[in-house]
C-alpha cells in the first residue's frame, strides 16, 4: 500500500467515503449514491486543490478523527464543527496543514448533520463502477469506516486553492422543500395535496442516506394499492401506505411501487442532508416549467 494514507483513529457514528456517485447505472439496480451535501463536498475539494469529483469523507453528527501518515492539506466543510490538529484548534471551512503523524479531528456537528473532510489527493480506495462512493443500500463501495481502518490517499495536487473565507449557507432551522407535482399526483385527493402544501411536517429520526423520513399529517390517497414497480428519481417524494412522504436521497432504490406525489429539485437536497431530526419542514409546490 502507498505510504500516503491516513489511519482512522475515531470513525464516529457513521463516516463513509463519498464522491459524486455512480450515475448511469440505475437500469442495473445501482443507486446514484455520492455525497448528500454535494456543494459542501465540492467546496472541501476546492479548498485543498482537488478536482471536485475526488473522494472525501462524509461524517454523521459526531465527526471523525484521522492520523496522517504524511503531511497533508485537509479541509472540513458541511456541518460546522470544532476542528483540531493534535488537540490544537484549527479553522473549519479552510485548508489546514496537518503534519506527518498528527491527528486531524473533526468534532461533533455544532449545527447540521454531515461534515466533509477533503484530503490533498483525495481518498483513493478502489473505485466500483467509476466511483468510490459508499452505497449503504446496495453495499457497493464498501462499508462505513471503523476504528483502525487505513485509507489510502492519492497524490497531492500541486497547490491548494487558498481562500480567506468561503460563503456557506448554514444548516436550516426550517427546511424548505420546493417540489414539482408528479408523476403520480393523481393518486392523491385535493385534500391530500393541500395537506402536503400546508401541513406541519418534521424530519423523522428514522432518516438516513436512503431517504429523509417525515412526521406529520398523512396524505389522503385517491387510489389504494401499489403501482407496478417504476423508476424512481433522486428527490422523489414517495408516499408509502402510512401516508407520510419520504424524500429520496442519494442511496435511494432505483425502482419502487409506492406513488411519487412530487419531485424536489436536486439543488435543495443539500439542505435536506443537513436537517437534524425534529427540524420543521415546509413543502412548496412549484407550478409551470
Amino acid at each position: 500500500m502507498t505510504d500516503h494514507a491516513c489511519l482512522v483513529v475515531r470513525a464516529g457514528a457513521l463516516t463513509t467515503v463519498q464522491d459524486l456517485g455512480r450515475p448511469g447505472h440505475a437500469h442495473l439496480g445501482v443507486p446514484l449514491s455520492g455525497a448528500l451535501d454535494a456543494p459542501a463536498h465540492r467546496l472541501a475539494n476546492r479548498l485543498v486543490g482537488n478536482p471536485e469529483p475526488t473522494a472525501t469523507l462524509e461524517t454523521t453528527l459526531t465527526g471523525c478523527a484521522v492520523r496522517m501518515r504524511r503531511a497533508t492539506t485537509v479541509a472540513v466543510t458541511g456541518a460546522p464543527c470544532p476542528v483540531t490538529v493534535d488537540g490544537r484548534p484549527a479553522p473549519w471551512g479552510a485548508p489546514v496543514h496537518v503534519p506527518a503523524g498528527a491527528v486531524l479531528d473533526a468534532g461533533p456537528a455544532a449545527r447540521g448533520l454531515r461534515s466533509y473532510l477533503a484530503f490533498g489527493g483525495g481518498v483513493a480506495t478502489e473505485p466500483v463502477l467509476g466511483s468510490r462512493a459508499t452505497d449503504l443500500l446496495s453495499g457497493l463501495g464498501g462499508d462505513a469506516l471503523t476504528d483502525g481502518a487505513v485509507l489510502p490517499l492519492g497524490a497531492a495536487p500541486p497547490a491548494p486553492a487558498w481562500a480567506d473565507a468561503v460563503p456557506h449557507p448554514g444548516p436550516p432551522t426550517e427546511l424548505l422543500l420546493p417540489y414539482r407535482p408528479g408523476p403520480r399526483d393523481d393518486w392523491f385527493t385535493a385534500h391530500g395535496h393541500r395537506t402536503l402544501a400546508t401541513g406541519r411536517f418534521r424530519v423523522s429520526a428514522a432518516s438516513n442516506r436512503i431517504g429523509l423520513r417525515t412526521e406529520g399529517p398523512p396524505l389522503e390517497r385517491a387510489k389504494d394499492g401499489e403501482l407496478p414497480s417504476e423508476g424512481m428519481p433522486l428527490g422523489a417524494l414517495q408516499v408509502p401506505p402510512d401516508g407520510l412522504p419520504v424524500l429520496f436521497l442519494h442511496d435511494h432504490p432505483t425502482t419502487g411501487g409506492y406513488p411519487v406525489i412530487g419531485v424536489v429539485p436536486a439543488r435543495h437536497l443539500a439542505a435536506a442532508a443537513q436537517a437534524v431530526p425534529g427540524t420543521p419542514i415546509r413543502f412548496l409546490p412549484l407550478r409551470g416549467a
Binding site: 450515475p23 448511469g24 447505472h25 440505475a26 437500469h27 442495473l28 439496480g29 445501482v30 466500483v128 463502477l129 446496495s138 453495499g139 457497493l140 414539482r180 408528479g182 408523476p183 403520480r184 407496478p228 414497480s229 417504476e230 423508476g231 424512481m232 428519481p233 428527490g235 432504490p253 432505483t254 425502482t255 411519487v260 419531485v263 424536489v264 429539485p265 416549467a289
Partner: protein
Amino acid sequence: MRALPVGAHGLLLELDTADEVGALHAELLRRATAGTLPPVTEIVPAARTVFLDSLDDPRGFAADLETWDLPQLTAADRPGVEIPVVYDGPDLADVAALWGTTPDEVVRRHAATTFHVAFCGFAPGFGYLTGLPEEWHVPRRATPRTRVPVGAVALAGPYTGVYPRSSPGGWQLIGRTDAVLWDPRRENAALLTPGTRVHFVPRDRARDTETVR
C-alpha cells in the same frame, strides 16, 4: 403512451403492456447508440414504464415520441444467455402444489420457458424476468426468509429472479445456479440487463458435483 413529468427534466413514459415497454426501451437504446437520442443520464425500464432522467427539453422530447414507430421485438433482436440451474429449491414442492402438478413438471415447464429481463431493481444485477403465463404466477411467501443464498432461482408474482448476492427475500425458491449474476470488475457487471433473453438449463445434482470437482 402517457408521458408524465418527473421534476423539471425527467419523463416517466407509461405503456399498456410489458411488450410495449420492451419495444420502446429497445428503440431508446438503438437511438442512444446511434447518437440520435438527446442526452439523458438514465434510461430505466420497469414493469409498465420507462423513466428518462435529465432531458434538456422533456416536453419537446415527449412531443417527438408521438411520431416514433415502435417495431415489435422478435427473439432474434435480443441478446440471449443460458443459466444452468440445479432445481432443488426448498419451495419447489409448494410451487408444484400451487401449479397443481409435480415438482418434475415445474422444472420441465420452467426450463422450457423463454424469459426476458423486464427490468432490474432490488439489488445491483437483480433482474425481474417475465415469460411465465398468468396461471403459473405465485404469491410471495407469507414470511420472508431472513437470508436467501446467492444464486437462488426464485419465483414471485409474474416474475422469476436470481439472487445476485445473499439477502433477505420473500420469493419462492425453486433452484440455484453458480452463474455469477453480478461482478462490478467485469466489463458488463450485470449478467442480466433489461431486454436480455434468458433460458434456464437444468443440471442434475450429481453432474453438478462432478463439474465442480
